[in-house]
Structures are given as structure tokens and as C-alpha cells.
Amino acid sequence: MIDAVGVRKSFRHRPVLRGIDIIVEEGETLAIIGGSGCGKSTFLKCVIGLLRPDEGSITVDGMDITKLATEAEIAQYRRRFGYLFQEAALFDSLPVWENVTFGLKYLTDTPRSRFRSIAGDKLALVGLKDIEDLRPSELSGGMKKRVALARAIAAEPSYILYDEPTTGLDPIMSDVINDLIIDLQKKLKVTSIVVTHDMRSAYKIASRMAMLHEGKVLQVAHPEVIKISTNAHVRQFVDGLSEGPIKMKIKEYEPPEDEEEQGRADETARRR
């Protein structure tokens, strides 16, 4: 169980998370949705301890990450997690198969002789084959994402945090990944948090969905409830409308009033 209470995080005095309360039950898949830049990745990084919240607590299996002090303790806490980075974050210097099995060396006692075959199996799960010896720089964006997913699940963690697992994949492959996430949850009883912008995927895999807005949780509910939510913000987001209470619209273009004013504006900009 992941229990986040009142999590706050600012970057250079700019608040990003303003008190997040989220509970993820054992064996559950929670999907987090929310506008770009609202702090979803930041929250995931707080959960796994890559970022330290300014306030609040995050408790996993009775261990509060915000109370752990030494590197060894935090490392111990992290062992139970798999993490899929939004930008894949594959190791450039290692071939694909070593990327996939990288965590096995440190997190499990698996003998090295089995690494290659395990890499092949995990890559097959995400729909990739015959790429074991390529370098990450030789892969397409969607392939990188899937290799990163294979890497995140290779050590069979009990918690998996997915940061946009289906972004950049074609619709069919997205659904293959959805099925994989559901399979992991059903067969291995994995508890996971999935950050996604893909509503179809969220409805399919999530046991509950949480909508983040301006650093807070707006609503947490079953996907069927979210679909018919009466909250205007949630409505606008799941329907994908530009008109509504969430102001994301780019400022409309206004031509400068006269030349002189434009010149002055430029100068102030430069002085900053």
C-alpha cells in the first residue's frame, strides 16, 4: 500500500505539489491524469525517493520515505519499486539486453548466465525481438519506451510506477502495453501508479483514477465514475475540451500597438 499524506513540493519557491493525499491499495492500479506540467512526474519521483517532499509523508509497507535518512535505508526502500521514466532514460553505453537486466545484478540473486535469456523474455513481453545487441541510440522513440518498460519490470518488483507508458506508441502497441499492465496486476499482484494522458488506456487499466490540478487532487474515483463526473474541471479534461474552467489556452496574438512601445518592451525584456 502506498499512502501519501499532504505531500508538498516546490522548485525555487514555485509550488508544484500543494498537499497531495493519495492512497493506493495493495494490488490496485491507480491512474493519475492531469494537465501537462501539473506535477505528475514530480509526484512519482517523490514516491520513489528521487525527490524529497518539502512537507508531508509517503508511507510504503510501513516505511516512511520522508523519515529515511541514510543512503542505505533509502536504497532498501527503493528495492521494491520498478520505475518507467517518461523519457525512457536508457543507458547509452550499454546494449539493449544489458539495459533490461541491469537491475537484476543489484536487486536479485539471478545468476548472470541467465541474463540474456531473461532479457529476451522481457523484451518479448513488450513486443520486441532481435534487438538485444543494438544500442539505445539505434532505437526509435517508441522502442526505447518499451525497452525501458522491460527494464522496469525485469526484477519483478511489487510496486511499479509508470510515467506515461503508452505515449509515443501506435494504438495497437498501446493496447498491448495496456494488456501487459493488466496482466502484471492480475498475475503478480503488482501495485501500480500509472501517469497517463491516454484516456482510453486509463479507463481500461485503472481500478481508480485520480485527477491532479494545480498541485492538488481534484477527484479520485472509479473510471466509470470519472467518465460521468460532474466536476467541471474533470469533465473538461476527460472530454479534452479547450473551453472550460481550466485555462490552458495560449494567449491570443495581439499585434503591437505601435513601433515605439514594441521597442520599449524589447528593451525591458533584454534588461531582465
Binding site: 519521483k45 528521487l50 527503493r78 528495492r79 521514466f85 523519457e87 532514460a89 545484478k105 536487486l107 527494464r151
Partner: protein
């Protein structure tokens, strides 16, 4: 205006103090992981080969010509004074072994291998690969820093010895072909006076330089922020800081070795 000046100065001071603290923490963490976990020998070997292959040609070229210049100048001064090139081998030998061998090899390695380390780790930092190490059960200090520091500590003293030899060889080329000093004389000028302590003086210094360069360049890489531009900045900073550190530490290391009587 003046306020802004002191404000900037104060900020600079605070930032420098903060990075000094972080640097100390990284060194401590390196000691911790070195004692607590198995060293990644494969990584050490890869890094040693890289440093060696990258730096050997440049070290050889620079020290060869340094030795030649030393011989030429000593010969010229001695000729002007005594009408005969005396002690050319002695000057070249002692200068190279005690001072120029360790310092020149360290400077070259800072610019070559040190820059490469900062750029590599910096790129890993801005593409989340450093964070990925944490999520896969290891730690950048353990997986990246320790192998690089060990590789430097083994490789730089070897490069230093190579630098001594190429410098002395360069000196011999000038002494023999230009100043007309017989090989025998040149050789005796060096080894009649050279003692083990003279060699150790320079040799021990190159260990100090190896630690300094590798830790500084790893630190600059791991604290990179701000995308590709940030990688460029931290690479430049790594080279500038480590070269400066080599020259400053050279004085203090010399002072300590002199106090210990290793000269």
C-alpha cells in the same frame, strides 16, 4: 550598484560553499561505497583503457617537446656562461621526474579524460540516467564515480612515468644531435645524482592529482543541470577547476613532501 556587486559576491560565495559541501559529501559517499560494496572491476578496466588510449598520444607529444626545450635552454645558458653545455641531463632529468612529468601529465589528462568524464556523466544526468541508476538498485557514486577514481589512480602514475621517459628522451635528442653531448655523459648526468626519493617525490604527487581530477570531474558531471547547454558548461568548468586544482595542489603537495624529507 554597490549593493548589487556585494549581492552577487555573496551569492557566489554561498554557491561555492554549498558545492564544496556537496563535494565533500560525494567523497564521503565514495569512501562508504568503496568499503561496503564490491568494486565494479569491469568498469575500472574499461575506464583505464579509455584514459590510457585517449591520453597517451597527447602526453607523449607534449612531454617530448618539453624535454627538448629544457635541453635546448639549459645548453644555451650553460654555453653562454661556461662555453660548454654542462649538466643538461641533470636539469632535464630532475625537472621531468620531480615536477614536469607529474604536472604535465595531470594537465593533459584533465583536458582529455577529465573533460570526457564530465561530459559523459553530465549527459547521463540531464537525460535521467543517473536517476535510473537509483531506481535499479545501485548508486552513481558506486557505479560511476568509484571505477573512474580507481582508474585514474592507477593510470595517471603510469602516464607520469611515461612522461618522465619521453621528456628525458626528448632532452637526449637535443643534447646528442644539437649540443653534441655524448649519450654516456647525458645518462650519467642524470643517474649519478638521481635518488629514489627524487622519483617518489613526483610519483606521489601524481596520486594526489589523480584523486583531485577524477573527483572534481565526476562531481561537475553529476551536478549538471540545464540540458545540453548545461553539459557544455559543466565540462568547461570541470577542466578549468581541475587544472587549477592541479597547480595549486602541486604547491601544497610539494610543501608536504619537502617537510617529510622526500625530495
Amino acid at each position: 550598484m554597490i549593493g548589487a556587486f556585494f549581492g552577487a559576491g555573496g551569492r557566489w560565495f554561498l554557491e561555492t560553499a554549498e558545492s564544496a559541501g556537496q563535494f565533500a559529501l560525494m567523497v564521503r559517499s565514495a569512501a562508504f561505497w568503496f568499503l561496503r560494496s564490491r568494486v565494479e572491476w569491469r568498469q575500472v578496466l574499461i575506464q583505464m583503457l579509455r584514459i590510457g588510449v585517449e591520453s597517451t598520444p597527447v602526453v607523449t607529444m607534449t612531454t617530448l617537446f618539453t624535454g627538448m626545450v629544457l635541453a635546448l635552454q639549459t645548453g644555451a645558458s650553460s654555453n653562454a656562461l661556461l662555453n660548454e653545455p654542462f649538466f643538461v641531463g641533470t636539469v632535464v632529468g630532475f625537472s621531468m621526474v620531480m615536477e614536469l612529468g607529474p604536472v604535465m601529465s595531470a594537465l593533459v589528462v584533465s583536458g582529455r579524460a577529465g573533460a570526457a568524464i564530465a561530459a559523459e556523466l553530465g549527459t547521463m544526468k540531464v537525460t535521467d540516467q543517473i536517476d535510473a541508476l537509483y531506481t535499479l538498485g545501485t548508486d552513481p557514486v558506486r557505479y560511476l564515480v568509484i571505477p573512474r577514481v580507481l582508474a585514474f589512480v592507477v593510470t595517471l602514475p603510469i602516464l607520469k612515468i611515461m612522461a618522465d621517459f619521453t621528456g628525458i628522451f626528448g632532452g637526449w635528442v637535443v643534447a646528442y644531435f644539437k649540443l653534441g653531448i655524448p649519450t654516456n655523459t647525458y645518462w650519467h648526468d642524470i643517474f649519478d645524482y638521481m635518488e629514489v626519493d627524487n622519483f617518489m617525490h613526483g610519483f606521489l604527487k601524481s596520486f594526489v592529482f589523480a584523486f583531485a581530477i577524477s573527483f572534481i570531474c565526476c562531481f561537475k558531471g553529476l551536478t549538471t543541470s540545464g540540458g545540453a547547454e548545461g553539459v557544455g558548461k559543466s565540462t568547461t568548468a570541470a577542466v578549468v577547476v581541475s587544472m587549477t586544482a592541479v597547480l595549486i595542489l602541486d604547491y601544497f603537495a610539494t610543501a608536504v613532501l619537502v617537510a617529510l624529507g622526500i625530495t
